[in-house]
């Protein structure tokens, strides 16, 4: 039979034979695809180089070492207008990373709470969470940023009429001014004690698990932990005679000087980004919990395990497998949405190296490549961490 079949196509040309072979066909398709992709990028880059040359521009990163000659209102590292563009970029990176990390933490906490509330059997709680989510996620995030910024700038008083909280913190439309701690040498003892209590709790948590494994008794680890980590340094702090002095913010002229300030741009961006993303995370968490087959909850109840433990021992560990992949996307979204900071003058990567530096030096090609690369690196790091976590909690199937 087989011989007969072969004999029936005696004169197929070699190209047809190659194309109809499953393996070689896939190789051919891959080679063609890759060549096309490379050709496309080669054309684009060639075009860019030719055009840049036509207007008399080279491709060089030397401008990074020239003075930036602009100010940045929020800088966590030393910076002034005589610093280099490179330094400005670093400040931008730090500002972006700061708002992204704070945003991810805040969005996760609010999101998880929203998700659980959304599943509440209490009608009012449930509806409130529902309304919040539907309002927040159906308005573009840029509007949220502008709205929160506008609220702070227009609804908060000018520094002269600042809302004072115990004469230590002042809320104004120029930001939240607060006392800045100046550490005296003895404060080091408190820090050491704090680190020590952290280490102690790490050990104690394992010890408590061992005790539970051996005797079945469970210590209230959370409360003991809270007591140790907060209590011990606090007691030491007062025993040592409060080895901290405060640099108080003072009203001079039209604004406060001294102390430290959280700027309205940062507050607005952080709140808008994280509350916006929290709405999405809330729905993801809800989907995750609902995605765990209800029989799991019933089986746990049937064993006499109470509601809280059922949630923490049975439902959440399984829900996380559903939650983590889309949660990663939300973290990435939040990080990238932080580029909207430019709308309210928060000096992130886009506003510094991708904005003012670009305009001043005219190095659009180089600057945009830097910005693109930076976002790519940040996103890939987040992805890598989340994928690692996702793999760790994956179910063993067969």
């Amino acid at each position: 039979m087989a011989e007969a079949a072969i004999a029936s196509h005696p004169r197929r040309n070699p190209i047809s034979r190659l194309w109809n072979d499953k393996q070689s066909r896939s190789v051919i398709i891959q080679v063609i695809t890759i060549s096309l992709v490379f050709a496309f990028f080669a054309y684009i880059i060639h075009n860019a180089v030719v055009n840049l040359q036509a207007i008399g521009k080279g491709f060089s990163y030397n401008f990074l070492w020239q003075p930036s000659s602009y100010d940045i209102n929020q800088h966590l590292i030393e910076y002034d207008s005589r610093s280099t563009h490179f330094r400005a970029m670093l400040v931008g990176i730090i500002n972006t990373v700061l708002v992204a990390i704070c945003g991810i933490v805040l969005a996760s906490i609010v999101g998880f709470i929203l998700g659980v509330l959304r599943l509440s059997k209490n009608w009012i709680v449930n509806r409130l969470a529902y309304c919040y989510i539907e309002y927040v996620r159906n308005v573009p995030v840029l509007l949220h940023i502008l709205l929160v910024h506008g609220l702070i700038v227009h609804a908060f008083p000018v520094p002269r009429q600042a809302i004072s909280i115990g004469d230590v913190t002042y809320m104004t439309n120029r930001g939240i001014f607060s006392a800045k701690p100046i550490y005296e040498p003895l404060f080091l003892v408190v820090v050491v004690l704090f680190l020590f209590s952290l280490a102690f709790m790490w050990w104690f948590k394992r010890h408590a698990k061992k005790v539970q494994d051996e005797t079945g008794q469970r210590y209230p680890v959370f409360w003991i932990g809270l007591g140790t980590i907060v209590g011990m340094p606090l007691v030491a702090f007062f025993l040592l005679g409060s080895p901290i002095s405060w640099d108080m913010p003072e009203l001079k002229g039209f604004n406060f000087t001294g102390g430290m300030v959280i700027r309205p741009e940062f507050i607005a961006l952080l709140l808008a980004l994280s509350l916006y993303t929290a709405a999405f995370i809330g729905e993801i968490v809800r989907a995750g919990i609902l995605g765990v087959y209800y029989g799991q909850t019933e089986a746990s109840y049937a064993l006499g395990i109470n509601r809280g433990r059922t949630l923490s021992l049975v439902v959440i560990p399984q829900a996380l497998r559903i939650i983590v992949p889309p949660l990663t996307s939300q973290y990435l979204n939040l990080t990238k949405n932080s580029s909207l900071a430019v709308a309210i003058g928060y000096m992130d990567i886009v506003a510094t190296i991708g904005g003012i530096s670009l305009n001043q030096t005219g190095r659009e090609m180089e600057c945009m490549i830097i910005v693109l690369a930076l976002y790519l690196v940040m996103s890939l790091i987040i992805s890598a961490v989340m994928n690692w976590y996702n793999k760790r909690i994956k179910l063993v199937e067969r």
Partner: protein, 258 residues
Amino acid sequence: MNDTPENSNGNSEKEFVIVIRKMHKWYGQFHVLKDINLNVERGEKIVICGPSGSGKSTLIRCINRLEEHQDGEIIVDGTELTNDLKNVEVVRREVGMVFQHFNLFPHLTVLDNCTLAPIWVRKEPREQAEVTAMEYLERVKIPDQASKFPGQLSGGQQQRVAIARSLCMKPRVMLFDEPTSALDPEMIKEVLDVMIELATEGMTMLCVTHEMGFAKTVADRVIFMDEGEIIEQNKPQEFFDNPQHDRTKLFLSQILNH
């Protein structure tokens, strides 16, 4: 087995592990369980059968309050089931349940499935809980699978783990909700064998099942339900040989004649 059913004639309630009186349940407008009265003696094995939708599963799910009843009372081992959450937990500790779809925890190993409740509810030391768990896993004949995950086991093995998991809590009553309905024919036997062994050891069992062979060999009493009511209950011999009600006759002819 010194207290045979003949000794207890119903005047002292202590002899009954489960007492259900005039119990009703509605799903919205739908009247699922109508005036259920049922007393279960210690060590008694009861098989509940009936057409689908007759309320058999709902009835046994009321006994550990996975479903709430709206009228009448259910008393399990001296504790009445009400909205009191603590009471419900007390009852659930003493009542084991095996589900149609096993409902093992897929993120835990077989051993951890068995030790979870003893550790967190009974507050047993892990080592002791593991020793107990291994004993029961041996009794259901799968001690060698202890470190595997449920997803790696066959259906029959999973259901036997589910039985072992319930037994680890040392329950006084075991509820079975169609334990073999989701299994391949050759796996049904291995699960039924475990259940028969459990029955001969004197466990109080309520079992919703379509396995009439099991009912004939093991049950002390067979209960037939239809449309939310207990239509007929009798010793298995009489029940199968001489059913009283037309509906019972129809049901039996349908399930036995093929």
